[in-house]
Symmetry: C2
Subunit: 348 residues, 2 copies
């Protein structure tokens, strides 16, 4: 098994076909200037030998690898992996290969080695598909700005001269809040994500702002910080029921925590949505099958990945063509609200 035969090279093909490597090169690149007879012969040899041109050698010559570096974190969670799903699909479509790196932690801050390794592999562009958490964007200004390889960042506070693709978390939170208010809920608690996450802060801000705007206002006892997990959602809900005795609904910053919260509501013998309305965030596939089915904010993480790839390639192309320095911009994707039973107190 697995004898060390080594690679079939263009040289080998050339010698077997009795031509120069050049001619073989012309054939594999579909150049016109080869006699159809020679071409046929070479193609046969290629087939026979199972020859596959080396992408590495080509990358060296062309100064272009058609390879993108993808940096992610937390693949064991469904959000990052959906985004990666979109990235692989779009990259495939565009004919780019992907080199994947996963950070050991979301808030990893020593990113230069990762970056260097991607450079070492001659990637044409980088997609930084890690959420903004704590200080994990501090390096952006230093290192990335003077890099000459295009980088597109995902899910962070937009900045000048940086290409960012993000989902409008704030808007999502606002939609959820309007809905709860529409349903007549007035004592709306909040289970936030960990507040060193930019996304968690955005979602929470929507909750606050909506309460202010509705003339209700909020108190510190009416929210609790979670860590995205169902377990933390359950704990947070328990605490919330203690602190906020006349609470009639909860905006939960993701669906997993919402599941934990729902479990607590059941344990207390309260009815959803009559006694307590629940709205989640993310629209994970399971949320439609919670008991009761969860109202939640839907956002398309798959598409986030797709758009990021497309944007990256667009920048690569324009740099290659030496076009006028591209002005880097942010792209914001808008979420939608999915209304289900968990918040539908006023039946139509």
């Amino acid at each position: 098994m697995y004898t060390k035969t080594g690679r079939t090279t263009i040289k080998k093909v050339a010698s077997v076909a009795g031509v120069s490597t050049q001619t073989v090169s012309r054939v594999i690149n579909n150049r016109p200037d080869v006699s159809s007879k020679t071409r046929k012969r070479i193609q046969d040899v290629i087939e026979e030998l199972g020859y596959q041109p080396s992408a590495l050698a080509r990358s060296l010559i062309h100064q272009r690898s058609y390879t993108l570096g993808v940096v992610t974190a937390g693949l064991k969670y469904i959000g990052p992996s959906c985004t990666l799903n979109g990235i692989t699909a779009a990259a495939e479509e565009a004919g780019y290969a992907l080199i994947l790196k996963e950070l050991p932690r979301f808030d990893a801050t020593n990113n230069e080695p990762i970056f260097q390794e991607l450079v070492s592999h001659h990637v044409d562009g980088i997609i930084w598909a890690v959420q903004e958490v704590r200080g994990n964007r501090s390096w952006v200004n230093q290192l990335a700005l003077d890099s000459d390889i295009p980088i597109v960042y995902l899910t962070m506070e937009p900045r000048e001269n940086i290409s960012v693709v993000l989902i409008n978390n704030y808007m999502g939170g606002c939609m959820a809040m309007s809905h709860l208010l529409d349903q007549g809920y007035r004592h709306i608690g909040h289970i936030s994500g960990p507040l060193d996450w930019w996304e968690a802060r955005q979602r929470m801000k929507a909750w606050k702002d909506a309460l202010e705007e509705a003339g209700i206002g909020f108190h510190d006892h009416s929210w609790v910080e979670g860590n995205w997990s169902s377990a933390s959602g359950a704990r947070a809900a328990e605490k919330l029921f203690e602190q906020y005795t006349d609470m009639d609904s909860i905006l939960v910053a993701n669906d997993q925590m919402a599941l934990g919260a729902i479990q607590i509501v059941h344990q207390k013998g309260l009815q959803i949505p009559q006694d307590i309305g629940i709205v989640g965030f993310d629209n994970i596939p399971e949320s439609a099958f919670y008991w009761p089915a969860l109202t939640t904010v839907n956002h398309d993480q798959y598409n986030l990945g797709r758009v990021a790839v497309q944007e990256t390639i667009k920048i690569i192309e324009s740099v290659r063509q030496g076009l006028t320095p591209i002005s880097l911009k942010s792209i914001t994707l808008e979420p939608t609200l999915v209304v289900r039973d968990s918040s539908l107190r006023l039946k139509a």
Copy 2:
């Protein structure tokens, strides 16, 4: 932004430091035979220029890339992405880079282009992290056997002369069944995964065999095929209640479908686990927060990925060292049962 400056090469470093490229090469490879003075100077220049050696050029020379190809499918599902999580971690640890390909469908059968592309990138080994579905392993015997690059397959029926890492799905199903029988359930229904999946068949076989062994036997009306989704689990449960009127429990082939089934049980006003016991499979993090908490079969998909990487590298190494032809073997990981409320009828 992004001026086309081009790469800093070893040549550049050499000329700035006033030495030959050779000497620079010695420094970046930590060779001893360089005067500490020259070394220092070169290191400074490297630092200053932000020089990063080209992994591509090195791969060409060494006939070795320290790169693994990973082929996956269904990243939007939590299983495959957990496995990928384990793969990235183990690869990082071992100093290997990863080239990622995702198949458009689980049962994609035209895999030669994928394979060829990985070859083209000089990967040292391949991890085929796609579950065995329908005919998607038919190519294995032809193409892969005479490839001289090591391939490790995940989650498939073991075969001779092929390296496979898998989880013992059958055993997992058996454990779940013993537990249900221990709890006094006798009319155990089954919601299977799609039966063109090898894993689904294994889990179902455990259900059948256990019923036979217990002297209960099974009928065609006591199981329904799902497609892994919660929606299909709900539909299957409804059907099952119609077909199998004295059913007292269900072995569900994954946790998502179990969630759907639970929703139906609630809708019928039945009690879990008193009227109906439910056992799932996979132990997704949310399952502990279902209502009631789900008894399920736990298996470590993260570890599956880790082991696959380690095994791949082991094979690569022994081929390189020209050791006696390695005998390829399967590695089976054993699952565990996590007992929670959904099946605990006999309180201790």
